[in-house]
Symmetry: C2
DNA sequence: GTAATGATACTCGGATATTGGTTGTCCGAGTGACCGTGG
DNA sequence: CCACGGTCACTCGGACAACCAATATCCGAGTATCATTAC
């Protein structure tokens, strides 16, 4: 069980898009900034576009730009955009299969195991939703030359 | 990103092992109870044995039995036993690669993105560690005939 | 009758295929920019 | 000098392969049981 690399790529790329300013930036430049596969980063950016976190501009001088300010983008938004909204723990209802399932009456309530796992997952989601990309950007701005480096790398 | 099925299998199997009593139960019977692949459940049980959540008894009349009371087994223990202790979000340090990486001085602090993701993951771990299998068993004991069904299915 | 002994059946344990999903690559559709031409 | 039209290069977008890990399966190693036999 490992989170897709695309999440890390997307997070850094979104931060870069903010630092560079408003204009659209091509996926090739964004990939070069961190030595990533351009085509694959492009695919991740399309996922972000579908989630309406970025807007895509076709044609020459096109590319991707932020759709909203970083303050309104949470870590959960990015994770869901890349990974999808499926739950980590997916209950297969094995309690209704096999010998035990045949002997038991059809269960009424929810599966206790599933409910417990869902509770834990909920607090993960809450913690992800509580942190916005602006918070992370504030950390990066501790060393103010970062912004200059990003801007010069993306021109 | 999806949690392995083995976690669900392990959780239900551990609960069954508790309900059936102290004697060892073969992986075949445990699998039949929920209609699972016997060999694959056996593999998961070996993982639980390495984590010292169950003890394995070889030979005829052998099988697996609980190594400690359910009160001392948390959801986190089971997840780590099956999935391993690796983190969901694994930082690749892409901030040190590509153009930006070459232009930047070697970073001093930890990656802000990684730190934020780790915070969220920590609260997931905390929530998993806060729930023991005894808590789940208490939920199941709402309908007291469950125990009888499990015992009759595992004899 | 009792104890030793060998065969046997049953279990765990790990080595070996198979499948599904992530990762990576490629080419086509579409669009804005640029250049040349005519008014 | 300005407006218009055609060509072009550049970008996104989705379809297509490669790789890795989870899933599933199989066979060998080890052990308690049971029957048999000798004392």
């Amino acid at each position: 069980m490992r989170m897709a690399k695309g999440v890390e790529w997307a997070l850094h790329t979104l931060l870069n898009l903010d630092m560079v300013g408003g204009g659209p930036v091509g996926s090739g430049q964004l990939a070069e900034a961190h030595g990533l596969s351009p085509s694959y980063l492009n695919k991740q950016l399309q996922q972000l576009a579908r989630a309406e976190l970025v807007v895509s501009v076709p044609g020459p001088r096109g590319g991707f730009s932020l759709a909203k300010p970083l303050e309104t983008i949470t870590l959960l938004d990015v994770v869901v955009a890349i990974e999808g909204a499926a739950e980590l723990f997916q209950c297969t209802e094995i309690r209704c299969s096999g010998k035990i399932g045949e002997l038991s009456p059809p269960p009424k309530g929810a599966c206790a195991v599933s409910a417990a796992m869902r509770r834990a997952e909920q607090s993960w989601h809450d913690a992800l939703a509580a942190q916005s990309l602006a918070d992370i950007k504030a950390d990066l701005d501790r060393s103010p030359l970062v912004r200059q480096i990003v801007r010069s790398a993306l021109t």
